[in-house]
Symmetry: C2
Subunit: 259 residues, 2 copies
């Protein structure tokens, strides 16, 4: 049974995990952060924070490395191997970077975390990987206390999940950034687009996205596409994205019709 | 006062407008469709449909051309000028294609319509353009009966709204298509991404999208970006979109930091 949990890193993922594990109340949590200040931490989490050096002394059943991907190996290097389970939380980092620890694993929540924007864990899928059956079982037990949607995925599949997440979250948000800029040129508010955005999401929930595709590209409406490209003449970045995605929409549609 | 309304075109926009105007109940609506069959129309709309030839005979106060953009001029050509208001519903077609009619205008609802997916008009912005003050006033009055969000926009601005809509609806849906394909390779369901997608939308409603940007590109995390590009080696279309949008995210971030 996992009783003592160390969370290393007090960024968005570290904080979100600390909060939900604390709320469940089954484990004793300690947080460690390289940052000397605690001011970015919410009041409920500040008491959990211990000096970074204690990380190498205090024993734990589970150590969660919620640090930037490129710091996982460095931090792992400094943690003594005492038989505890050590996991990272990275979508695109293989399990093997923790090979120093026999009981190693990954806890990857498929969600975007932003400080000050609390999320409900009720439907966040959490992907688990482990080096052996016992560790996997312990991690699934730990995870199922705060998520009803704990799944097992290997490193290569987790990376594919991460790339998919980049497309539907990071890239989608960037399209919002571009539309926001276009609207600002006429002092129009981005909120004008929200009903359209919500309808787009609702449709994606109800039918396969390929069937929900609308717009000039899927109709191969070259006249409209060319008008839009002309309008974007002074926005070379947006124009290039418009052209590339329109072409991709057309290609996927053609492939779909051939099936 | 507009009493008799003709809606030409029984596609998604024509049907959505016919239904909401019918539901308000202030006008007598007639629909005209080139298609001989009515089977794609819902039962409530089928009685409104008249033979296409009647369009040229029956008088109306308002004729709404809800046809494909490239058919607007052809259809307008065949409608006699009897002093009625004639509008189209296209985002990227200038008002002037209707110059044959002194009382001409545009009613452009900023929403994506799909048959069988009813929308609430309560917060759909509807953009009005008209050739003269009286027509504008009449159109605003007509529109405000079914939308609390009727706004005035010139042709050039309407095109910009349309391009923005393409980015946040059509292109966003295409990113869903690409992610859906990636997940299918591991037989994973697209619904796994819905909590992440919903969180992305919720953040866009709460803060400017540029501040909500997360992911490897905005962190300039080249190691992760390169892993993803390598994973997409056998998906050249997705790889190119990944590269271009990541580059655009980085550029916008740099510009934003310089402000």
């Amino acid at each position: 049974m996992i009783r003592k949990v160390h969370i290393v890193g007090a960024g968005n993922v570290g904080q979100a995990l600390a909060r939900v594990v604390k709320d469940v109340g089954l484990q004793e949590i300690t947080m460690f952060s390289k940052s000397k200040t605690t001011s970015h931490l919410s009041h409920d989490l500040q008491p959990l924070l211990k000096p970074y050096d204690d990380l190498y002394k205090a024993p734990a059943d589970l150590i969660i490395l919620a640090v930037n991907d490129d710091r996982i190996e460095t931090v792992a290097e400094m943690i003594p191997q005492r038989g505890q389970v050590v996991v990272h939380t990275s979508g695109s980092t293989p399990l093997d970077v923790l090979k120093k620890f026999p009981a190693r694993g990954v806890i990857y929540p498929l969600q975007t975390f932003t400080a000050g924007h609390p999320v409900s864990w009720d439907n966040i899928p959490v992907f688990i990987e482990a080096a052996d059956d016992l560790t996997r079982k312990r991690l699934l037990q730990f995870c199922s206390a705060f998520s009803p949607n704990c799944l097992v995925a290997r490193s290569d599949e987790r990376m594919k999940l991460h790339v998919s997440a980049v497309f539907v979250a990071n890239f989608v948000n960037h399209l919002f950034v571009l539309a926001h800029q276009l609207l600002q040129e006429n002092n129009r508010d981005f909120s004008l687009l929200m009903p359209l955005i919500r309808q787009t999401i609702d449709k994606a929930q109800q039918m396969p996205p390929i069937e929900a595709q609308t717009g000039p590209a899927v109709r191969n409406d070259l006249k409209t596409i060319n008008k839009h490209l002309e309008m974007l003449e002074n926005h070379p970045g947006k124009k290039e994205i418009y052209r590339l995605i329109s072409q991709s929409i057309k290609e996927k549609q053609d492939q779909n019709e051939q099936l």
